[in-house]
Symmetry: C2
Subunit: 278 residues, 2 copies
Amino acid sequence: MQESQINMNRLLTPPPAETHHAASAGPKIDCSTCLVGRICLPASLTSTATDCQMVQRRIKIVRGDHLYQLGEPVGDRFYAVRYGSFKTYHLDPGGLQRIVGFHISGDHMALDTMGLTNHRCGAIALEDSEVCEISYDCLHARREALIPLQRHFYTMLSKEIAREQDAALLLRNTRAEQRLTAFLLGISLRYAARGYSSTSFRLHMSRQDIADFLGLTPESVSRLLFGLKSQGLLEVSGRAVTVLDAAGLQRLAGGYVSPPPADEAETRQPQLATAHAA
Amino acid sequence: MQESQINMNRLLTPPPAETHHAASAGPKIDCSTCLVGRICLPASLTSTATDCQMVQRRIKIVRGDHLYQLGEPVGDRFYAVRYGSFKTYHLDPGGLQRIVGFHISGDHMALDTMGLTNHRCGAIALEDSEVCEISYDCLHARREALIPLQRHFYTMLSKEIAREQDAALLLRNTRAEQRLTAFLLGISLRYAARGYSSTSFRLHMSRQDIADFLGLTPESVSRLLFGLKSQGLLEVSGRAVTVLDAAGLQRLAGGYVSPPPADEAETRQPQLATAHAA
DNA sequence: CGGCCAATTGAGGATCGTCAAAGTACGTGG
DNA sequence: CCACGTACTTTGACGATCCTCAATTGGCCG
């Protein structure tokens, strides 16, 4: 966590009503007087938020600095942007930084970490900014007191978000062949995790559905499958698929898997590999 | 909700241990004997799940039938696939069905509806399948008793998922120009919602970041911006943007917006259009 | 003023979509 | 059991989109 007091590049950032000039842990932070309160929180909840000290402190981040690092342990908190803007990113399988999204005032960040132990994304300030740090404690008596079932529920939600992020990552950064390969490998892995054969399975969806999911056309899917067949990587007959060379497919997929298995993909270690520019 | 007793296309679906042949609301459903229990739930939680009657009933769905419809009101429940497979879809701005994802045994569905009132996606069985219906009630004493702050928190998470889904939708189905336009309009809308000018603003991120986020190259972004400029739709100078013809941009974006504003995109009414089966 | 990074511009080419048609699987009905 | 119709899948030719590579311009900071 970084803080600072310098401020520049303030084209769109009106000076906040009253700013504490460091990570301020003042007695009580009043959400009802916050200029972005109506975006960040329903009006009916601002007084509640103030009462239970939802915002524990405000943090200033200098342009270019991290609010939180990728892989960093998650504290029991998330953030709301008070002013300024951020980008969040994660690393693709090649270890390159890839944008997940942009966040401006009123937006929330690190919501996807609720059920995780480490940050999946890093957050960098695009300009000098300030965020409100919000603790989960105000939402539950105490996080440690969460019943395991609830905890698991949160984890599921976080992974749902992670799944969508990974799907978007794949769509943004890969070519058709790589995308399809990653898709097939994903299916294979998921079946394997459930005790089915990972090398011989049936695609229950149509080519149209696969194409749609991968941002392609059915014709392309068909041609690409033929291509993989020609390379001796798999056997395809209609919807029946047999993986012949899993390692070869892995190589083609280049570390991507889509969609990730439902519950078995823990915080993955981004391993460095061949780097290719955008 | 549909149920049936016929079963076919069972290439990958071993007969579940003991199957109730309709939507069965038997006294207690035992998760510890379920074959997918280890995928769907941590082993340490299966007995807890059984005790608090987490799974209220099991539902059979015939191939091609909906588990839930798009736009349908959300009951306080979500689903786990017991066997079979599903696709989830939503409609693009043109009203066409677009795949969100595929789900096989052990996967969860409708998790993204926790904080919503209506289903954002429809779910269709790709083969004869069975799901476990799980109530939120086991996670909290009673959903109605949720404190407003918690409710809002859930809503935020759901919208986070929705945001990611929409981003993926955009990436899959649009061309570069449409994508960039949708991006700019999204920025504009978000600024407007925060009281800033929606017609004149500054892009705080680099062209590289924009390109990365949209699955393009910086060169393309640059060219496309020039194109929009040539069409008289906006004025660009470095990172400063002035929208000249918002209506024209809307037309180009074709109903897409990326990313959706943080909190103002409520449950959209899906208009029925061409439907095509699995 | 000079250096560095970001942004632009240009030329060429690979990828993948579009359109059209033929082939195949599957379920239905005779 | 076989014929038929429908929907899905494959195959082919062509073209647009967008990436790649390279060089130039512009802006910001020391």
